[in-house]
Symmetry: C2
Subunit: 492 residues, 2 copies
């Protein structure tokens, strides 16, 4: 089966698409740039969502739901935000179809059902939400507002990739309102740490926390914090962002509150989001030429059991044992499946679950049963071994933990080996082309230099790491004085 | 506080709006017909969703996600379905805004960014899903497909009501594919029973299971099963529907499978859904003039505790005891909140939680502490009593169960008292106007009579109950022979 997956060396981009489609995570749809998230992929997203949702609630947030549509007049209220998203938004202009008078059975847009004001399908919800917060906030007693929304959003991207960049995607967007600048800043940093915690401890993917340069900021933000991960092809991927929005949206929507001294002031804001794009990140960071390798903590299936037998008698005794194993594993909340379907052979099943990235595969035959053992194969290292059935639950629990740690360590080692300190332009270009990965280099702090570097190499400043070391040096392009290194990379 | 809620007698419709808005479940938005679901209302929906989601998974279904947009050519493929929804769909015609050349700072639709084919914002997903299933289904081995989706949908309703009828709403839509007619029929009935189970056993709302007449069917269905509930004003509310779609969508989208004998046939389909409308139903069925009365099993908060004290010393000893109670209640998965905010008095809090429908309110003061008791007030009957602190957890657990049962019984009694057998047209009209509720009457089985009755009285046939008694009689309007009574009502 693995033959059908293009290897990374052959065509990295095709390898990625093969994994998504043949691993049954998602598929193309009839709608340009939109994907269908298949049950296996959606189960992965559900697990990610449930963990994140709990983290949000544990940090005091609640969920709510705001309209899909943003009236144009609200959309354009915060100028920078509007400018940033205007070029890629789907616009509803009519509210009715009617039968085509020239061609019964076909429908056309009813010209008489034109909206007085066009509706933008939300590319992000700051505008509609801040227009709502206006009615929720009068006094400091109404603050903070710590609200999150799980939703679909639409950005009309010209070049789309499954999960990584789709016209419609699923995400969560936190939108908080605060009485002070300090509190809003603290919130935006806090949520960045929540994201990093999630991506590292559940997706087994190390990230660098940092802050974006002005040109890479979210449209309408004063500061954008981000977590950046490294993919196996040496390109970076922004895995989550948290924005300190200052008073920009409060001013655009006239959201003021009276403080304890009864003084009126604009409210301070943050927003933060991660999306189904994270699935693209974990595929590209961990998987291999045989298929997906999914992090155990969020894998839809953590363990699959395949029986190997001849005849119904052998099958019956294997079934009996397997049922005990499943009961024990489920009692430990381990997601397990017994694949005893008749219409495919064990070898085919092995390849199938390898392709789908199930962390642990168990195989058991009549001989194993006699010897009170079971074959345990781990997906990440492909190691196989025979283990006693007596403490199989403990063996598997430990193995799942070990797989997570190993995946994280492997990705961390790769990432660390691909952060290169560079001091000359020649080295910069050479490293970018040959070694790839992050380049740590001095930059003179101007948008012009940043643009020029992007133009010359397609590399962007991914972030200025948090708690960055201050050291004097010279900009890698202009030679102008610099006070710190920043991280460059080509990125998804 | 209760003064601010309009009474049912005064203005039922305003009473309902007051509950939704002042109970902080939802609010109007800047988008015509769309609402904002506030955190308290969304927590209620989350609880409902989680229970339903588990029921779906326990009956073998998995979740997936399909695009928000339906290209017009797919939308119109199943003719009846298209006809049914064409009049109320939001249509995306452009994918970009640009700066208004005559008015910088304003945006206009970019005429150069017109879509080649318009996209309909899904009012329901049969079209996009069956166009996808075409690629998933080749053989009987690919069947059944048992997929559910949690999503937002848009139907451009002219008259909207919070929760009951909004332009955008949240729902789940199950879409299943089967090899045989029998299996599809079985599925659509099974899901109707799942819905009835949920509405009765979690929402405490009795329902009548039935089948719709041809004119009340879902557009594109061969049969529509429904559950019908009765509101306090005597109007019926359709709380969920499950459709047997026959081979209509399979034919429209050319979805065939080869059976065990290698014969090609069209696939059989069902779809089924419930929505945020259910929240409207539970508000109208249970609540009173003081505010919401929420069913304990899905209430965002099941218990609220209010301290009554003078000075910080009393407060400290109450806090200590309350912490123990909360720990014990949480260990039983009871959702509890301790409201010890300083800025409002106990009486204000009592009214507030009454308005928000929290099933159980506890109040505890210094004297109670001395006597080892606590005041327990239930929202449904407004009974209050003093209970020993020794077995307070058990007391509350039992009380929550009792409240559910009492709410169900009360709604059931009301419903049963409002099903009236009627044999003459005069009685029909009189009952509808004076007693309201369901009318069980003979109908001659024709769409003409059904239409005429609707025109004359605004009453529709809500359903032909499942396992309906067959008895000969005469149509209440025309006097023509009839074989069974059906249920009429005015409805939301």
């Amino acid at each position: 089966m693995s033959k059908e997956i293009t290897s990374r060396a052959q065509d990295y981009s095709q390898w990625y698409n093969d994994l998504v489609i043949k691993g049954e995570l998602a598929d193309y749809s009839a709608v340009r740039g939109c994907m269908v998230i298949k049950p296996y992929g959606f189960a992965l997203w559900e697990n990610m969502r449930d963990v994140l949702d709990k983290m949000f609630k544990d940090t005091g947030h609640v969920n709510a739901y705001f309209p899909l549509f943003v009236p144009k007049s609200l959309f354009e209220a915060e100028e920078k935000n509007a400018e940033g998203f205007a070029k890629e938004c789907a616009v509803v202009t009519h509210y009715r179809l009617k039968t085509d008078p020239d061609n019964k059975g076909k429908l056309i847009v009813d010209p008489e059902a034109k909206l007085e004001e066009e509706l933008v399908v939300r590319p992000t919800s700051e505008a509609i939400i801040w227009n709502t917060y206006k009615t929720w906030i009068q006094s400091y007693r109404d603050l903070p507002i710590l609200v999150n929304q799980w939703a679909n959003v639409v950005r009309w991207e010209m070049r789309t990739r499954l999960f990584l960049r789709t016209a419609e995607f699923l995400w969560q967007e936190g939108h908080t309102a605060h009485a002070t600048k300090e509190e809003a800043l603290e919130e935006s940093e806090k949520m960045l740490h929540v994201y990093a915690d999630f991506v590292e401890n559940y997706m087994a993917l190390p990230v660098i926390k940092g802050v974006k340069t002005a040109s890479e900021r979210f449209a309408g933000a004063e500061d954008t914090y981000c977590i950046e991960a490294l993919m196996q092809d040496g390109k970076a991927l922004q895995a989550g962002t948290s924005h300190f929005l200052g008073q920009n949206f409060a001013k655009a929507f006239e959201v003021k509150f009276s403080d304890k001294e009864n003084k009126l002031d604009y409210v301070w804001a943050t927003s933060w989001g991660v999306s189904t794009r994270l699935i693209g990140a974990l595929i590209m960071a961990h998987s291999d030429d045989e298929g997906l390798i999914l992090p155990p903590k969020i894998a839809p299936l953590q363990v699959v059991i395949v029986p190997i037998y001849k005849g119904i008698e052998q099958k019956a005794s294997i079934d009996k044992k397997v049922n005990d194993i499943i009961t024990a594993l489920k009692a430990k909340n381990i997601r397990v499946k017994y694949d005893d379907t008749e219409n495919s052979r064990p070898g085919w099943k092995f390849a199938e679950y390898e392709k789908k990235g199930v962390p642990v595969r168990l195989a058991i035959g009549a001989r194993d049963l006699e010897n009170n053992v079971i074959e345990v194969a781990r997906r990440d290292t492909k190691e196989k071994g025979s283990y006693s059935l007596d403490n199989i639950t403990e063996t598997i629990e430990n193995l799942l933990t070990e797989i997570h740690q190993n995946m994280f360590k492997k990705a961390m080692t790769f990432r660390d080996e691909h952060i290169t300190k560079v001091d000359t332009w020649d080295e910069f270009v050479k490293t970018l082309d040959e070694k790839t990965g992050f380049i740590s280099a001095h930059w003179d702090g101007t948008a012009e230099t940043e643009d020029k570097i992007k133009e010359l190499t397609k590399a962007t400043i991914r972030c200025i790491p948090l708690n960055n070391i201050q050291e004097s040096g010279n900009c890698v392009l202009t030679g102008n004085p610099s006070t710190q290194r920043v991280l460059f990379a080509r990125a998804y």
